[in-house]
């Protein structure tokens, strides 16, 4: 196809052509970045938690007034919960992966005299966590009963500086072990929290995500052998078969209320609900971005249809003359398709530069990585495809102009 006539025609419609190129460039740039952002959100929503998500339910109770003996009550509650039909494991956990609310975090150090901590981790405290949450142990062992200390004891020990009342061991995730002791066997290694707490690694789990503050490293979490009670803000977590979850929640709440009616249910939910809530804003944002992409491509496509229709209408006579001089319908069709392809290409080239610029802007204002090269062809292909689809209608109409038009005056 000879490009020169097309270019010279476009030169006669410089402003209009430039506007179309600009529109395509802007759309291309925004679409590239939006697709990238959607990818980021989906990746976030897809993060592994490391726990048996579909088998867990969480129940949190608050006591009205001071609870009498939180420790004894927790033991009674746990014994009763274990009796409920369908319950496989019961644990007390302060928080769960990917959930809002508090989280306890601390700075882990390789050397107690370090000024800045090596890595910030979230700690999971409570009893029977490993089997209840279904976290997979890949090396070492779970805590033994003798290793647990009560939270109150640990707090008091911390205040007096008596290290005996503090936990001595911990379980870490594989990702954390690789960060702290790359290339070494993490079992038996010691890390420090503050200058007083020395914790020896006795087990490594495949994966356990932290509750929130994910940008500090989603897999940097540890477990400490500390007994918690509901009075410390912890929840009961029950593991059961996925289809029994609703029934177990109902039975457990009834049982707990019967044991002590002076309590209020603060939370009762399946873990799936908790996770869905945590990522709800990401899901909403991904939806909005999809909407923006669709709207942008539609508007651009309609703009191309509109402009192409105009040009076809304007050039009816020229088309007639060309047809009369021997151009086939295919020639006319290809002319308009090539013209659109050229415009789209100019737009895409400009759009790539713009996309890069927008990404730089987003990188400085939001915590986003650099736009990977793979997203550029995505935008380009989308725009080329949309352009060709949009121009097809007007181009076919142009091809249908009969040669006889050339002989008529308008």
């Amino acid at each position: 196809m000879e490009l020169r006539p097309i270019l010279s025609t476009l030169r006669r419609h410089k402003v209009t052509a430039c506007l179309l190129i600009l529109e395509i460039a802007l759309t291309c740039a925004i679409v590239c970045n939006a697709v990238f952002l959607i990818g980021q959100r989906l990746q976030r929503m897809d993060m592994p938690s490391g726990i048996a998500e579909h088998e867990l339910v969480q129940i949190q109770l608050g006591h009205i007034g001071k609870s009498p003996d939180a420790k004894a009550q927790t033991e009674t509650d746990l014994a009763a919960l274990r009796q409920i039909a369908g319950v496989r494991q019961v644990g007390v956990v302060e928080e769960l992966p990917f959930s809002y609310g508090g989280s306890s975090n601390s700075g882990l150090m390789l050397d107690p005299h370090q000024q800045q901590p090596t890595v910030n981790v979230s700690q999971y405290m409570g009893q029977n966590i490993l089997p209840t949450l279904g976290v997979r142990l890949v090396a070492g062992r779970d805590f033994g009963p003798g290793e647990y200390v009560d939270l109150d004891t640990a707090m008091a020990a911390l205040k007096t500086g008596d290290t005996k009342g503090l936990p001595q061991t911990m379980i870490v995730t594989r990702a954390l072990a690789e960060r702290m002791w790359p290339g070494k066997d993490p079992l038996g290694q010691t890390a420090y929290v503050g200058k007083d707490i020395a914790l020896r690694v006795i087990g490594v789990v495949a994966s356990l995500a932290r509750p929130n503050m994910l940008r500090m490293g989603p897999q940097y979490s540890v477990m400490w052998p500390i007994h918690m009670t509901l009075a410390d803000g912890a929840s009961y977590v029950l593991r059961t078969a996925p289809q029994d979850r609703e029934a177990v929640i109902k039975a457990a709440v009834a049982k707990l209320k019967q044991l002590d009616p002076n309590r209020v249910v603060v939370t009762k939910r399946t873990y799936d609900e908790a996770r869905r809530e945590f990522f709800a804003s990401d899901r909403a944002m991904a939806g909005i971005l999809v909407g923006v992409i669709v709207a942008l491509l539609t508007v651009t496509a309609l703009g191309i249809v509109g402009l192409a229709s105009f040009w076809v209408g304007q050039r009816r006579r020229t088309i007639g003359v060309r047809r009369a001089l021997g151009a086939t319908r295919g020639d006319i069709l290809r002319y308009f398709q090539t013209e659109n392809f050229l415009l789209a290409t100019f737009g895409i080239v400009l759009g790539m530069a713009l996309a890069y610029g927008i990404n730089l802007f987003l990188m400085t204002h939001y915590e986003l990585p650099r736009l990977p090269g793979i997203y550029f062809p995505v935008g380009a292909l989308a725009l080329w495809a949309i352009g060709q689809l949009a121009v097809l209608g007007p181009a076919l109409r142009a091809a249908a102009v009969p040669p006889v038009v050339a002989t008529r005056s308008v």
Partner: protein, 435 residues
């Protein structure tokens, strides 16, 4: 003349219905999307206490140990310890001052048809109400004397009053909180500052407490703290820290009526830090900040990142829609070159043609703007159905309504300017000659 142009515009637009609809729709979509996101941004970054926020300050000091201190880089803490809070409160160096923190209390309604439930609470000293200008529907706030005497008094919100007492005057009545009887002294009127500036550790939007009790009393009764606790050294964490623990968990607000007083207060904070360092309580050199409400909100980046991103997206979309409309309008005007040429030849000035074309583009813009307004209402309705904490606040206020209209009109005139100017440049003779 305007009437005639208007008539011409309508005729011209009606001649090409699909195209006109396309241009109107593009403008409407762009404006609708931008207005929706701008309204959300406007609502979220608004002043929570107009007229008062300029004189309310949030003092920050740095009581942490020297571990991890980076001179010039380490920021003072976002809350205060019990000891510092009490010291600053009792120093009474500001016009008004209040020490407070958040919590949850179990409310046991006397009315047996209601089950006990948890309610968000604020444990605070008395100046909270006068300093923040809390209106009262019934009764009044408690005073410094009640704070001193650790009295069991409570102020409740009108929402809770409706729930417990059917909206009647409940002052003087008893309210059972966490198993202890409190006497209601006041019911607040309609008061819900957004964002919830005085304690950003809780949900920032659309969540205000139902129960207010004196800070001193809350500690006696052992009410549970809810919010952020930040400890250092051998601070033990836990939800309700010990009063001597090296943990920050309280908010301290002051009212300073003039910039001179604010400057003096900042100096006082430096002196206080020096004095505490001399006493051995503080280890770091004085590291203080004194921000007013808007500066504090800005420092904490309260407006969610997603909302900002959505605004940028919508503005980008509006730009594409505008470019699209300019292109279509230009093509349309240029196609009528011969008609315009005839008018020019018959004596119409360039200015007259320009006015005529501008009226036509103005009509498109106006209709598009109205469509955009409609779409913004739908958009805001969709936002309110989103799972975000701020969702319920997304409403169009008169200021934003007016802005929408200006934006629509401005955008469409802008979109019409270039095509109209370009189309006026036709040489009449050339147009008459061809065809």
């Amino acid at each position: 003349m305007f009437g005639y142009y208007f008539d011409l515009a309508l005729r011209s637009l009606a001649r090409n219905k699909v195209l006109t609809a396309l241009m109107v729709l593009a403008i409407a979509l762009g404006i609708g999307a931008s207005m929706t996101t701008l309204t959300v941004l406007h609502v979220l970054s608004g002043d929570p206490l107009p007229g008062r926020s300029g004189t309310l300050y949030y003092p920050q000091i740095d009581p942490q140990d020297s571990r991890g201190y980076l001179p010039g880089k380490s920021k003072p803490m976002d809350q205060v310890t019990w000891i510092d809070g009490m010291n600053l409160l009792q120093a009474k160096r500001a016009d008004r001052q209040a020490l407070m923190t958040g919590g949850d209390v179990a409310v046991q309604p006397g009315n047996s048809t209601l089950d006990p439930f948890y309610e968000d609470a604020r444990y605070t000293t008395a100046d909270f109400f006068t300093m923040f200008g809390v209106p009262f529907q019934y009764g009044h706030a408690w005073g410094a004397a009640e704070d001193e005497a650790h009295e069991r008094v409570a102020v409740i919100s009108s929402r809770l009053n409706d729930k417990l007492f059917g909206g009647g005057d409940s002052t003087g009545k008893a309210l059972r909180l966490d198993g202890t009887d409190f006497r209601i002294v006041g019911v607040t009127g309609d008061w819900s500052p957004n964002p919830n500036f005085y304690d950003l550790n809780r949900k920032s939007y659309d969540e205000n407490e139902g129960v207010f009790v004196p800070l001193s009393t809350s500690q006696d009764v052992g009410m549970v703290h809810d919010g952020s606790v930040d400890c250092w050294g051998n601070g033990g964490g836990g939800n309700t820290p010990d009063h001597n623990a090296p943990c920050v968990w309280l908010q301290f607000w002051v009212q300073l009526d003039s910039p001179a007083k604010a400057a003096a207060y900042k100096t006082f904070l430096v002196h206080y830090s020096e004095q505490q360092k001399a006493l051995g309580r503080f280890q770091r050199p004085p590291n203080v900040e004194l921000r007013n409400v808007m500066q504090w909100l800005d420092y904490n980046q309260v407006v969610p990142d997603d909302v900002r991103l959505q605004t940028w997206l919508a503005l980008g979309f509006l730009l594409v829609c505008l470019v699209n409309t300019v292109g279509l309008m230009l093509a349309k005007f240029l196609r009528r070159a011969s008609e315009l040429g005839v008018r020019r030849a018959l004596g119409a000035s360039k200015k007259a043609l320009f006015a005529q074309l501008l009226v036509e583009s103005g009509v498109v813009g106006l209709v598009g703007g109205m469509g955009g307004l409609l779409l913004a209402f739908i958009g805001l309705w969709l936002v309110r159905r989103q799972p975000a904490s701020y969702a319920a606040l997304a409403h169009l206020d008169p200021a934003m309504l007016f802005t929408t209209f200006l934006l629509a009109l401005g955008a469409s005139l802008l979109a019409g300017l270039l095509p109209a100017w370009r189309a006026c440049q036709v040489a009449p003779a050339l147009q008459l000659k061809s065809n």
